[in-house]
Amino acid sequence: NPWVALAYLVAGVCFILALRGLSSPATSRAGNRYGMIGMTIAVVTTLITHDIASLPEIGIAIAIGGTIGFVIARKIAMTAMPQLVAAFHSLVGLAAVLVAGAAYANPGAFGILVSHIDPTGLETLVISPVSRIEMALGAAIGAITFSGSVIAFLKLNGNMSGAPIMLPMRHVINLGTLVAIIVLTALFAMTDPAPEWMFGTILVLAFVIGFLLIIPIGGADMPVVVSMLNSYSGWAAAAMGFTLHNTAMIITGALVGASGAILSYIMCRAMNRSFISVIAGGFGAEDTGG
């Protein structure tokens, strides 16, 4: 349907104007409005162009979430903003995981099934290998965003000590976990039918690495981390956009991913910190050679 693609394009342009608007005080409020308009277009377009089997439930879900979000945003103290943003990131990460799970549970609805003929000549429908890679990546990045943001929230909110927690051999553990996720993703794409335990293990490992990446970072450096996690949430949305062949999610995910990364880079530069060590997880702490 060309109208859907067109509406998603308009939403994408609104989001670009929102990010651009927020760069300067004079245009910042208009920018925020553009963001709201873009999101409304994206949501309404999705709702009117799909055969909705459960409109009341969806309405209730939006009402519940919207009320909670609005009330929190109104009541929270201005000094608690950084941890609030961190908490919001964790929700996006978790939502990405849920969408990936839904795509895995109901691949037919997303049009990502392909025919597969096993050695005995029996033909079955399986999730296409490319979609499996996108799905696993989206779920993994979402999970990292979730657990990382939860730690960032706990540190900023003072529920957890802001002091860096240094595990021995942490770089080896992190690298090993990352390699395991990549290897499992490759296996997940190649094994038919897509095994459930692999998807589950990728998720668990991703939750663990999100935790491991953020615990060595000191509380004072958290704003940069929050911005980096913001970037991750964008990449997760983009990966799920690839799975669902949805241009709104791809355009917006890429925008958020790239601009979030640049914003963290700008913040790092302002604080005279190394950008690479943010991603490597150990930012703001002396490397003990572990």
Binding site: I16, S23, P25, S28, R29, G35, T67, L94
Partner: protein, 109 residues
Amino acid sequence: MDFIAILSIFVLACFVGYYVVWSVTPALHTPLMAVTNAISSVIIVGALIAAAEAGSETAKWLGLLGVVLASVNIFGGFAVTERMLAMYKKKEPAKKQLGAPRKAEGGEA
């Protein structure tokens, strides 16, 4: 849509994202982060599709939960940005009088 077409859209959008925020004023770092956060809840589109499709109860409930989480973020994110920007606006006249850049309270976290 074929993979190369969506990949092209993705790569071009990455470049737009890369160039669009370079000139951000330091005082607007936190509001920019908040609005980017709200925008990243575009994941709600995926959750809506999952919740809308018949065929799997599990997928439907996962989708609905995703819709709730993303809605918290959309409404909360834009509302919080609005609040921060309102504070910034109040500081504007003072900034002009002094003739020196001054950070809003909600600026750098």
